[in-house]
């Protein structure tokens, strides 16, 4: 099966201003949502208490609220996936420090009039822990960014590194914007999803850059836009196919993987789309704006090649016993 016509070079770069404008608008919208709407922080970061119960039969929330509020008037109660699964959230101040408190049992006995409920999960996170986790999350993000910058700078050159990291910021901001806009619970799994999609979207970008690097040596193309069009077009089918298979498995995870994993799979779904978009349309134009020069890079690569060849020659001479 072949979905893409062969040997066709698409002219992406002539429309680069359009693509970048789309991205800029999306980034601005994301930032607006992040700063006005904020995040629906989960207890991992905010601290708090969550009790998940399964009712013996589908039960209206108002019934559950009636009984729970006897003891916990400010509890927030929602369904969780199905009508039978109920999630009860409590503020951490009410319970913190009291180790002996037996919340699961307490809720169970409060809901006794509604039947024998199953306490599925009790999570209690102190507020202090949440702050620490957030700090660790930011550290992990910085660690990953710096690690990637260094690696790409060594394997390519600094403009590639900077362009790929900027593309990463692009992906991260828009994904977080979607998480904020759709009011997805922001928990540790979302953080893991963000770091994963950084690795993933970089994957795509690197494959395109690898082709650019190859064409710099292998072709005689002098114009950067033309070279980028060539590289992006040649890798297009691969980029789309891999994104498609990954998208499909994440979609199955989103649909069948259960309620707990939903924030994770949602973030990844958005991230894969955005990441694919950015590696095709955004990362490469950034190279142009960062002042990448084919000639300079070609010279450097040629020199490297020459040195390598000279070394080989020397070694051969040694081995041949000429010197």
């Amino acid at each position: 099966m072949e979905l893409f016509s062969q040997n066709k070079i698409y002219d992406f770069m002539s429309k680069k201003n359009f693509f970048v404008s789309v991205s800029v608008i999306l980034i601005i919208l994301s930032l607006v949502s992040i700063f006005t709407k904020g995040f629906n922080w989960g207890i991992d970061f905010k601290g708090g208490i969550e009790v998940e119960v399964r009712m013996p039969k589908p039960t209206p929330i108002s019934d559950v609220r009636k009984y729970v509020s006897k003891k916990f008037p400010d509890a927030s109660i929602t369904t969780f996936g199905s009508k039978r699964e109920i999630l009860i959230r409590l503020s951490v101040k009410k319970v913190s420090g009291n180790v002996q408190k037996d919340l699961g049992n307490e809720i169970k006995s409060l809901l006794k009039p509604l039947g024998n409920v199953d306490i599925r999960r009790v999570d209690i996170v102190g507020a202090k822990v949440g702050n620490e986790l957030r700090d660790r999350g930011i550290e992990a993000f910085i660690f990953a960014i710096v690690g990637i910058l260094i690696y790409v700078a060594i394997r390519f050159e600094w403009r590639f590194a900077l362009a790929s990291v900027l593309a990463l910021f692009h992906d991260t901001i828009i994904s977080l914007g979607a998480v904020s806009f759709f009011h997805i619970e922001t928990n540790l799994d979302v953080l893991a999803a963000i770091l994963t999609l950084m690795g993933y979207s970089l994957n795509d970008t690197i494959v395109v850059f690898d082709r650019i690097r190859e064409q710099v040596i292998g072709s005689k193309i002098k114009d950067l836009s033309e070279l980028i069009n060539d590289a992006v077009s040649r890798t297009l089918s691969r980029t789309v196919l891999t994104s498609l298979t990954t998208f499909l498995v994440v979609l199955t995870l989103f649909l069948f993987g259960g309620e707990i994993i939903k924030p994770f799979s949602f973030t990844l779904l958005v991230g894969i789309i955005v990441g694919t978009y950015s590696s095709i349309f955004i990362a490469s134009p950034l190279l142009i704006w960062l002042g990448f020069s084919i000639d300079d890079y070609r010279k450097r690569l040629m020199e490297k090649e020459k040195k390598k060849r000279e070394k080989e020659k020397m070694r051969k001479m040694y081995q041949g016993g000429v010197v």
């Binding site: 180790v99 049992n105 690795g199 795509d204 082709r211 499909l248």
Partner: protein, 519 residues
């Protein structure tokens, strides 16, 4: 047949056999097997914070007890014992006793002593050295881990895991805890400091607030059964739980109440006999974790170094006895985080993520075969081996599979065919350029290598960041991601290449159709 084998194929076959062999035990429940995380099998996960500053306070208290004891023993008169932030001070009434006092104090390690003279008496200031403070704090966490571990073992739990996290945190993981009562008992067992102290009761003063009590060197502690009733106790305590060698549960002779019978070591027995002998007719308060359990009147000198604590229920006696026997926590712990997952939710999570894994897998396998023909099927074989390898490697390292870890495996299914997509696209390119199939395959693998390596290494960097900074279940995700990436390089690059080499060696005619190209 043997001649047609190549080293790549041999490695791939070995890897596949290895993967299958070490995957099977996990499904049969035998070792080596992948451990299921608490979120998948149900259980309790606790993060405890150790109040290390309290360990310092306890240390100072012990020094104070020692100072008091040696001054009594050597007839040195001291007064105005005061606690400071990292030490204590007291006044030695007769300055001529200084050499004697100095000699005794030398036996205490890790302290700095400062003396100031004041009209005939000497003020001693004892401060813990910086190293001692550091050591005390770090020891407190280490000892707390030891203590909690031995308490849980004594309680009869099968696989408790107690590990340190960061500077002053402890993570306790308890798989397979089911009943709420069990949870409650365990939390109590873990969190009770079990700090036993014996105090003499001050019956001479009538005092109602703690500030006034401090003036006389006393403290006020609540009664265990009636928290409103306050006891006035003379500090420092005459004895503490560090001198306990054994504690058993039994019943008191007269009232048949549940009680804990404790035995002291020789030093404790000596002090106990001394104090009870000198204070006949006075009350001795038995204090556990700052609550007065009982305060019987001393009838006579108690030799032999044993005593008893009456408690409310046998259940409570059982837990407290375990706690006393395995030693007290050097510092109190506070519960920072608790996550408990019921077995039913764990089972649901396994089922749901398995459905996602299988359906994702089927979709990808069919897609690859449809798009790339024979080459896609070869990539699918590599994918199956990849899954076996992930499970096998996790089983060998006894890694824990968590729910995010399952998500990581699902993700690997999508991402690991990437290498084959890159290779196949390269091969197609070369075929289109008119190269013969054999050269196209060789060239395809060669050209694809740098892109695959760079892409996988950068993903690996992200996985390492997650592992280094992630906690709990997220670590599980990072592990499966990393293993998946490494395994996919072996299977998707080496394995498929080996299969192609073998097919070419058999002399079978390969056409572009086998790469899913229209002819």
């Amino acid at each position: 047949m043997m001649k047609k084998l190549n080293y790549r194929l041999v490695i791939f076959i070995i890897a596949t056999i290895f993967g299958i062999l070490f995957t099977i035990p996990s499904f049969l429940g035998k070792k080596p097997k992948v451990n299921l995380g608490l979120d998948l099998q149900g259980g309790m996960y606790l993060v405890l914070g150790v109040k290390t500053q309290d360990a310092i306070k306890n240390k100072i208290k012990t020094i104070a007890s020692t100072v008091k004891y040696i001054s009594n023993k050597n007839d040195l008169f001291i007064d105005k014992l005061k606690y400071l932030k990292n030490g204590l001070s007291f006044e030695l009434i007769d300055k001529d006793d200084a050499p004697k006092m100095d000699k005794q104090l030398k036996k205490i390690s890790g302290i700095q002593i400062k003396k100031t003279f004041k009209n005939g008496s000497i003020i001693y200031t004892i401060i813990l050295s910086k190293e001692e403070i550091q050591k005390t704090k770090s020891d407190a966490v280490k000892q707390a881990i030891q203590t909690i571990r031995s308490r849980l073992n004594a309680y009869g739990l099968t696989e408790p895991s107690v590990t340190r996290q960061g500077k002053d945190k402890i993570v306790v993981e308890l798989p397979g805890i089911k009943t709420e009562k069990e949870k409650r008992n365990i939390k109590k067992l873990i969190s009770s400091a079990a700090h036993l102290e014996l105090y003499l009761v001050d019956d001479e003063h009538k005092i109602t607030n703690p500030k006034e009590a401090a003036k006389y060197g006393d403290i006020m502690l609540p009664d265990k059964n009636n928290p409103k009733r306050m006891w006035l106790l003379k500090t420092p305590p005459v004895l503490d739980g560090s001198m306990i060698t054994d504690a058993t549960v039994g019943f008191t002779q007269r009232t048949n109440q549940p009680a804990i019978f404790f035995t002291l070591n020789s030093q404790g027995a000596e002090i106990f006999a001394d104090v009870t002998g000198k204070n006949v007719g006075k009350r001795l308060a038995i204090v556990v974790d700052n609550r007065v359990y009982s305060a019987p009147v001393i009838q006579e000198r108690i030799g032999g170094g044993s005593g008893q604590i009456t408690v409310g229920s046998t259940d409570e006696a059982h837990i407290l006895a375990i706690a006393l026997r395995s030693g007290s926590l050097p510092a109190p712990v506070v519960l920072l985080e608790q996550r408990s997952v019921g077995a039913s939710l764990g089972a649901d999570s396994i089922r749901e993520s398995m459905i996602a894994l299988i359906s994702g897998f089927v979709v990808v396998v069919i897609f690859m075969a449809w798009y790339y023909g024979l080459s896609g099927i070869i990539a699918d074989i590599a994918l199956v081996t990849n899954l076996f390898l992930i499970v096998a490697v996790m089983a060998i390292f006894e890694a824990t599979l968590t729910l995010p870890g399952m998500a990581g495996i699902v993700l690997t299914v999508g991402m690991s065919v990437d290498a084959n997509v890159i290779i196949n696209e390269r091969v197609r390119e070369l075929i289109r350029e008119g190269k013969n199939i054999k050269h196209a395959i060789e060239g395809g693998y060669k050209n694809a290598m740098s892109a695959i390596l760079d892409a996988n290494i950068t993903t690996l960097i992200a996985a390492i960041a997650l592992f280094a900074y992630g906690t709990g279940t997220i670590k599980g995700f990072a592990i499966t991601m990393a293993i998946g990436i490494l395994a996919s390089m072996l299977t998707a690059i080496l394995g498929t290449h080996g299969i192609w080499e073998y097919i070419l060696a058999t002399g079978k005619k390969i056409t572009p159709k086998h790469f899913g190209m229209k002819v």
